[in-house]
Symmetry: C2
Subunit: 280 residues, 2 copies
């Protein structure tokens, strides 16, 4: 990130891609921001709202001018996009992504023996249940938390560039292995998403009108876009199955303590959960 005019290419113009465009424009006012989307409507909207300087629905039209590429697409599409980018980008281009799982994506990149680009996996813990370019915000990454997931094959200079970029956008960066990353997010994001969705699916629609702030908060994330979450769940299947199984064990204990009217077990469970939550 020197003072010469950089060109950033953002692939995928949803909430994260759009917010990245806004944040980059603010933090790198001299840089050019290009956008790629399968929908020309989104390119037009992003241009109109001054998120990007230019854009296209065709990768070949925008990729060769980019110094830095940020892939903001659903996790199941990212591995393929990295390969496509590698065929067309100029040598030395730094590529990162914002996918919610990392093992599958980073392994695919490592195995692909990329020729032109240096890939570094990222995952900003930013977002919202409100998806889409319309909800993009320049400050989405300010004070947020970003995982960067290098491996032994990761180019060190590219790693520094990617970390530097996130820090410039206001985030704090945590480096972990892709495997460790997926274990962490299974617990703090994918399991909660599954549980919030299960909760929604196990109550009567009629009771919903009495839902107060507690219920709203507990289920808010279940509103997330299913087209993003299905590939996330499948990409992190092994960890999620393990965590669901763990959840099930505690669940069975609670159910048994209720059936047996076991006050000490029930109270112990509620106490432990309450004091653990108070730690956050």
């Amino acid at each position: 990130m020197t003072s010469k005019r950089r060109t950033f290419l953002i692939i995928g113009l949803g909430l994260i891609g759009g917010s990245l465009a806004l944040a980059l424009r603010r933090k790198f006012p001299r840089a050019r921001i290009l956008g790629l989307s399968r929908e020309s409507r989104k390119i037009a909207l992003a241009k109109k709202r001054r998120l990007i300087h230019g854009g296209s629905t065709k990768l070949s039209r925008v990729v060769s001018g980019a110094d830095f590429i940020l892939i903001c697409s659903p996790v199941d599409v990212i591995p393929k996009l990295i390969l496509n980018v590698d065929r067309l980008a100029k040598p030395g281009t730094v590529v990162t992504d914002v996918g919610s799982t990392k093992k599958e994506i980073v392994q695919a990149a490592d195995r692909a023996r990329l020729k032109r680009v240096h890939f570094v996996g990222s995952h900003p813990l930013a977002g919202s249940h409100l998806t889409g370019l319309e909800h993009a915000r320049a400050d989405l990454f300010q004070d947020s938390f970003v995982f960067v997931t290098p491996t032994r094959k990761t180019d060190r200079k590219a790693l520094r560039s990617v970390s530097f970029l996130w820090k410039r956008l206001g985030a704090s960066v945590q480096m972990v292995s892709p495997e460790k990353h997926d274990q962490i997010v299974s617990q703090i994001s994918h399991l909660p998403h599954a549980v919030a969705s299960l909760l929604m699916q196990s109550i009567d629609s009629k009771a919903l009108r009495f839902a107060g702030s507690g219920f709203r908060d507990t289920t808010r994330i279940a509103q997330g876009d299913p087209r993003l979450w299905e590939p996330i769940f499948l990409s992190n299947k092994a960890n999620l199955i393990r965590d669901l199984t763990r959840f099930k064990k505690v669940f069975e204990k609670l159910l048994a303590s209720l059936k047996r009217n076991s006050r000490p077990v029930l109270r112990g469970f509620l106490k432990a959960a309450s004091s653990k939550r108070a730690q956050i």
Copy 2:
């Protein structure tokens, strides 16, 4: 609620009792507000903060002067308190409670053949994971929702008084039977509390430091006071066991769809949960 000087007695000075005191002082500026608590510290604090005009740790000292009694104690204590109040109150006193379950409490009152007081069950859907007198707020019931749960035995005049009181405090009142009430709150409050607590108990403490807003929201209610929640769970055991069993069925389906890599089932599940949540 005429213009003569009414005396309200609030039994239990926690978040709800304290907020009721503040709200009553604001809405009935001429009324006298008395408080009863097992802890003299709370009486002193409530007096100092001008929540109550007077109070005691002994029921006999405050009950006979009251026209209207609001019981804000844990649900397992309320039935006994109603009986005690009935022995000491002046004839015609209206008594309500704010307990999170209603069947057990209202049945106890109905069966007790109360001699002096008229009991009407209430449950304001107001509150917070922050408990205690310190967090009391005069506007806690403003724009809130209150269940009032009459039975065939409920005195109609007392029922009107209780409904009127909640409305004056800014709440909207919904009348349902105690049984129906417990079914509804099991779904919108007790099951979510159980699930949020289960979630807390099934993740590693180490992962907690990466918890973002999604995780925080999903688990917020788990911080609730275990001394209040244990008796709530036990009082609404039958409904909660039924709803947990229902949750378990959806859970098993989700787990199976992940294990079988079944995209259509997984996507259908996430879609249904997301659109149901969007209805709120």
